[in-house]
């Protein structure tokens, strides 16, 4: 069983490289039972969207 600490590493690496089948299965199983890690995954995905939105901000949008 994956620990949450380890799951966060796999989720982070999953944003940078394709995960192996084993990693995907382990992660899917863990996420099915772990609300905290599901939130972690949603929130790190949001960081990526926010970063993309941030660099596109024009001077009119910013204070």
């Amino acid at each position: 069983m994956l620990t949450c600490r380890h799951a966060t590493r796999i989720m982070s690496e999953g944003m940078d490289r394709p995960l192996s089948l084993g990693e995907r299965l382990q992660l899917r199983f863990h996420l099915a039972f772990c609300r905290g890690c599901r939130a972690f995954r949603r929130q790190t995905a949001f960081l990526r969207r926010a970063s993309r939105a941030f660099i596109r901000l024009s001077d009119d949008d910013t204070p």
Partner: protein, 195 residues
């Protein structure tokens, strides 16, 4: 340096960057070198930037990283540590979210953020976002921005900064976990329902 609008924008930050580098390095020639190198590094991918705000954050991250490198070369570890929050401190803060068995502690467990998309439309959110990026250690921030601002692949980032791939992965994880935590307390605090 070429004469595009982006290059001009980069040049417009030059006095501020020089001031910062001089203050930290106490050496005008070294400060000039650092800023010149930073401006050249920043030219790459600069067309992705829409305005001054993100570009400034990106530029100053590179300058900060280069200043720290220059200080390290001189063996000035005291000044380095006062300049930035240590990567080890971040790892410690992350570890504190877990119980000994590696699962989230009740207080450390990430909570739902409500409607984060709504935050993207709010000016104050971007100020918090910028601050969270600025308090990251320079190298951590730079690797994160190369990945998420410029969209570079990790192997390219590792090659450019002469890091191993596993080191790159550790740094990206540290950056994401740190930023997530910073936005949680800085913006989304108290929003989520307890789980």
């Amino acid at each position: 340096m070429t004469d595009t609008p982006q290059a001009e924008l980069i040049s417009s930050f030059r006095p501020q960057m020089l001031k910062f580098a001089r203050l930290q390095l106490q050496d005008d020639a070294a400060a000039e070198d650092v800023v010149q190198e930073a401006m050249e590094s920043a030219l790459r991918g600069v067309d992705r930037f829409g305005g001054r705000s993100a570009l400034k954050t990106w530029l100053f991250t590179i300058v900060r990283h280069k200043v720290i490198d220059a200080l390290r070369e001189r063996g000035r570890s005291v000044q380095v540590s006062s300049l930035e929050r240590d990567e080890a401190d971040m790892d410690e803060a992350f570890e504190a979210l877990f119980r000994e068995n590696g699962h989230w502690s009740p207080a450390g467990r990430p909570r739902a953020w409500g409607d984060p998309e709504e935050a993207l439309a709010q000016r104050q959110f971007w100020q918090v976002f910028e601050t969270c990026l600025e308090v990251l250690p320079a190298r951590t921030a730079r690797v994160f921005m190369m990945r998420e601002f410029l969209g570079l692949e990790t192997d390219e980032i590792c090659t450019t900064l002469q890091l191993s791939i596993s080191n790159c992965n550790v740094i990206l994880h540290r950056a994401r976990a740190g930023l997530r935590q910073c936005l949680s307390t800085g913006w989304f605090a108290g929003e989520g329902a307890p789980c």
